[in-house]
């Protein structure tokens, strides 16, 4: 007779935490292999190709870092929001809003100003755009008790339509010959890249600074402490007199602003013009949720986590072409990995013992 008992686990060490994540990811990869089998693809080949394509060659690593930049930025911002249990699903919209604000700034001011001035300006504009889009759900949640999952999500759709409206209408470029999109950004506003790659290093440095900065913010400042209390024990927060509105506004401004930075990076660093929402962001806002979760809501770990998921995107794109798998494959991978990560959390907090009894 088998008896399975669960009991609370008290000794959660960082090593155990890390190993649980590793095992969870491993189990996730196994599950993904099953899906690949069902799709008629050799799972060993597919999984190994994903990692070889993204980390196994210099070109792959460069592409991975390029795709990791927005993931790290948004992921770090999300760790802050999620710590306060503010479920910001709207990073896509915040990214696009940042891109919109940055494009406007670049096109109106870029021709007259040198790079040194315009680049910080567009990043600031992008931050403001993303922050504004992030503050709206914060106000709605705190003042009107409206579920932030829905508000942030709806704002995603609204911003995407707004962007499309802009680029097929008033912002339609004259040099685009009928294809929707703005004109190319002025040269001074375009971000420099590391030679031989697409890595726009300004945003990369910004991403790392933000990760570190957020880490300090969350663990070493009073604001970070208050944000954590808001998430972990709102009642205690109320009794301690924490201003929920101010805290939420600031943390959503930061989270949205970082997504805005990511948007600026994509437009000014990679595409050099503002196009359809789907071309500006390929689901970074949603992938960043998993990045944040894998990072155990620590913004510093978001750097590694972001690189990991960027690798999956790059590798996934590669096998999509070589194995004929649909683009949705990456979504499946992401979803499964997240599910297994969540399940891993259970085993981290509970000790499961399987005992064999002789009848």
């Amino acid at each position: 007779m088998i008896r399975i008992t669960t009991s609370d686990r008290y000794n959660i060490t960082p090593l155990r935490s890390f190993m649980t994540n590793v095992v969870a990811l491993g189990a996730g990869v196994l599950a993904i292999s099953l899906i690949f089998l069902a799709a008629g693809v050799n799972p060993l080949y597919a999984v190994s190709q994903i990692f070889l394509e993204s980390f196994g060659s210099v070109y792959g690593i460069k592409e991975t870092i390029t795709k990791a930049i927005p993931l790290i930025l948004i992921g770090a911002g999300l760790t802050l929001a999620f710590r306060a249990k503010f479920w910001n699903i709207g990073a896509e919209g915040q990214l696009l809003m940042g891109a919109i604000f940055a494009t406007w700034t670049a096109q109106h001011l870029g021709n007259a100003l040198p790079s040194v001035v315009i680049v910080p300006l567009i990043f600031t504009a992008g931050f403001i755009g993303g922050a504004l889009w992030g503050i709206i759900p914060a106000i709605l949640k705190i003042k009107y008790a409206i579920n932030e999952v829905i508000t942030t999500l709806m704002l995603n759709y609204i911003c995407a339509e707004f962007l499309t409206m802009l680029i097929v209408g008033p912002w339609k470029g004259k040099t685009r010959f009928g294809f929707p999109g703005t004109d190319a950004l002025p040269d001074s506003a375009i971000l420099g890249v590391l030679p031989g790659s697409r890595i726009h290093y300004a945003t990369l440095i910004l991403a790392i600074i933000c990760s570190v900065g957020l880490c300090v913010l969350i663990y070493k400042t009073r604001f970070g402490y208050e944000a954590r209390v808001v998430g972990e024990n709102p009642d205690a927060g109320k009794y301690a007199g924490i201003d929920f509105l101010k805290t939420s506004l600031i943390l959503m401004a930061i989270s949205g602003g970082l997504a805005g930075f990511a948007g600026v990076g994509e437009v000014a660093g990679i595409h050099h013009y503002l196009g359809y929402p789907a071309s500006v962001s390929s689901g970074y806002g949603f992938t960043a949720i998993i990045v944040a979760w894998l990072a155990k809501l620590n913004p510093l770990f978001a750097i590694v986590s972001g690189l990991f998921f960027a690798g999956i995107i790059v590798g996934g794109d590669a096998i999509q072409i070589s194995l004929g798998l649909p683009a949705a494959t990456v979504q499946i991978v992401n979803g499964l990995l997240l599910i297994f990560l969540i399940m891993g959390d259970y085993f981290l907090h509970n000790k499961v013992q399987i005992r064999w009894f002789r009848a």
């Binding site: 009107y144 008790a145 508000t151 759709y157 949705a328 969540i342």
Partner: protein, 306 residues
């Protein structure tokens, strides 16, 4: 003019059908205390399953059954994670959405752009469909509409007038007290999540084999999320969900009605999502603390915990 009104009503009913199905399912699920944010993903899986099975077997009703089975299977993951593993329900639901959208995209790829030979035909209710104005609009519709209405009314009856309904509601309001009554909270929650999943899958099936007879990736277009918002708007009451769903069906139809007026089609496309925000804002003015939400919605419950 008369034609326009009739066709508007008709299209509103059609557009509201998937919303009603998904909302009813989500109401049942949330009433037991489990927040299921995976509705969009389950809907997509239901849509693609119904489409594939209908295309291969030629029987739409088999497609419906297959969709329900698929919805059951996929939401089992969320049920297991939320009820047994007491995981964070928000993240689990989001993961389910990603997984569902991804799976449906993968499964549906070979079928994109291939129209169904046999779709779910509209059914005329014998006597009522001959009524002058509303006959054609209301009673000559896809069976999904009638199914949705019947299920919503049945759900209302279940929740408000049966003993099981009281049990479901009390697991959502106070699982600890419910457990002391000897009711198996986990079982009820599992059942509610699975039923909710099946309904969402049905909504998806309507989209792919009745509303349109083709499969496109992303055909759910955020309806799953709107359904989640509608459960709040309906104050977790399936009866009000009927009302809420058809209002939103009307908003979807409004997009097409207003297009010839020269308003930007992108702005019109925003309407359902903007309306969701405004409606949520409107109820919160009446009801600032969301007093009607099940008290334990989204909170994990561990048996025996104090």
């Amino acid at each position: 003019m008369e034609e326009l009104i009739i066709s508007t009503i008709q299209r509103t009913m059609v557009a509201g059908t998937p919303l009603l199905l998904a909302t009813t399912g989500e109401v049942i699920c949330e009433r037991s205390g489990i927040l299921n944010l995976g509705v969009e993903g389950v809907m997509a899986v239901g849509a693609v399953t119904a489409f594939i099975v209908t295309m291969t077997t030629g029987h739409p009703w088999l497609g419906v059954l297959a969709a329900m089975a698929a919805g059951f299977a996929v939401s089992l993951i969320h049920a297991f994670a939320s009820v047994t593993l007491q995981a964070n329900q928000v993240v689990s639901g989001l993961a389910l959405t990603m997984l569902g959208l991804g799976l449906s995209g993968m499964m549906g790829k070979p079928y994109v752009g291939r129209p169904l030979a046999v779709k779910m035909d509209d059914v005329a209710i014998p006597f009522l469909s001959d009524l002058p104005w509303i006959g054609k609009a209301l009673f000559y519709q896809s069976p999904f509409l009638y199914l949705a209405l019947v299920l919503a009314i049945a759900a209302w009856f279940l929740l408000e007038r049966t003993r099981m309904g009281i049990q479901i509601k009390s697991t959502g309001e106070n699982p600890k007290a419910t457990e002391t009554q000897g009711i198996n909270v986990s079982l009820i929650r599992y059942a509610c999540v699975l039923v909710g999943g099946m309904f969402s899958a049905l909504a998806g099936a309507h989209l792919s084999i009745s509303y349109s007879s083709s499969w496109v990736e992303g055909m759910t277009a955020g309806r799953g999320w709107i359904a989640i918002a509608l459960t709040i708007f309906a104050l977790w009451n399936p009866g009000r969900a009927i009302f809420a769903s058809f209002i939103f069906g009307g908003i979807f139809v409004l997009q097409y009605l207003l297009q010839p007026l020269g308003i930007s089609p992108n702005f019109l496309a925003m309407l359902p999502y903007l309306s969701t925000l405004f409606i949520l804002l409107a109820i919160s003015f009446k009801d600032p603390r969301r007093l009607n939400a099940p008290a334990w919605l989204g909170a994990a419950y561990k048996r025996g915990e104090r």
